[in-house]
Symmetry: C2
């Protein structure tokens, strides 16, 4: 039985709040890496596949009926968990802020959203896994299908622009961004305006129902 080993799903759950990409981390309360932060993970059981396992992991944390999850890469270095051999399969999840709700079970541990540009001390190989999933997320976000997951309704165009400026790491001309975004025929005005911010209030939009896969940028 030398060649049997443990496998875990490792969840990279992303959300976007005020144009900032955030990832969910959990606080470690025991050694090794006590007080460090890590990605939520769950060991695969023999009576389930990885998708089922990931689904359990997600619903243990948040109570949303259905969130979008997609497989990432596998991390199999011998010492990635220090004292035990565990193969980690990375999963990328995407939730919107509006419908997000933590479950009862999640109260046992301390969960927190972190700005991906300002991460805390990370346990094990979590830094490597996050870097990897972030770069996957970046390319996915060019597609409306994924963008929609984060914005079910009521976003502003400047908010979108901030996200793309972060993704490409460069300023974008406001007029050109607007034109491209609106001309894509993927948006509907809601008729409302955002409030509470300084300056002229921005129009609120939502995505058309029927738009599925389409690359913008």
């Amino acid at each position: 039985m030398e060649n049997k080993m443990m496998i875990e799903t490792v969840l990279n759950l992303f959300t976007i709040e005020n144009g900032i990409i955030k990832i969910l981390l959990v606080h470690r309360e025991s050694d090794p890496y006590k007080t460090y932060w890590e990605l939520p993970a769950l060991t695969l059981n023999s009576d389930e596949n990885l998708e089922e396992c990931t689904n359990t992991l997600v619903t243990n944390i948040i109570s949303n009926k259905k969130i979008y999850v997609e497989q990432g890469d596998v991390f199999s270095n011998i010492n990635r968990k220090i004292d035990e051999r565990v193969i980690g399969v990375s999963y990328l999840g995407m939730v919107d802020q509006m419908s997000l709700e933590f479950s009862e079970l999640s109260k046992d541990k301390e969960y927190l959203w972190f700005d991906v540009t300002a991460l805390p001390k990370l346990a094990f190989d979590c830094k490597e896994i996050i870097d990897n999933s972030l770069s996957k997320l970046n390319s996915k976000l060019k597609n409306i299908k994924y963008l929609k997951l984060f914005f079910p309704s009521d976003f502003t165009i400047p908010e979108m622009q901030h996200i793309y400026e972060f993704l490409f790491n460069q300023k974008i001309d406001r007029r050109n961004f607007r034109k491209k975004f609106i001309n894509s025929n993927i948006l509907k005005e809601t008729g409302d305006y955002i409030k509470g911010a300084t300056g002229r209030p921005a129009k609120l939009y939502k995505f058309n129902e029927d738009v599925i896969e389409k690359n913008i940028f």
Copy 2:
């Protein structure tokens, strides 16, 4: 030890011959699926990571010093191997026809290249894995970096065009294809012409040394 299980790397080794994408399969000589074809696979040992395991698998088959390999998806359905639980991690490999050489070890089994549009009877979940890796390959091939792996030297532009016509499943205008390909500044004429074919002989090209990552199409 309920939750420990076997893991294997599953190799999707691709090559391109005469503008046709081919994958390497091995003939099964025992039940289940006796006489069916399958993807080469190797069980992960406790003293190695998946990359090392895949590397062993590759060198058991072909004797090329270094071929390019990249991780694909994980297949974890409970019954994918019928009578035992094995998690399969798919790897994509790319070799060119010119430098390809089978190793001594490979003589034990029957290996064959199959046109991906004309696959034989496949064992286990190999069909699913191949479909998956093919779709990954398709999007990768738009990038010169990957295309170069298949064509170290001496290819013709019509040959490339056939590949893209297959990838996009549509005819491309010869003049426009040529223009785009040549204007990309990624090619050098070798000065030779292909021979033995019917019609006017096509010029042979190779890629510039320095071109690394660039999307064409």
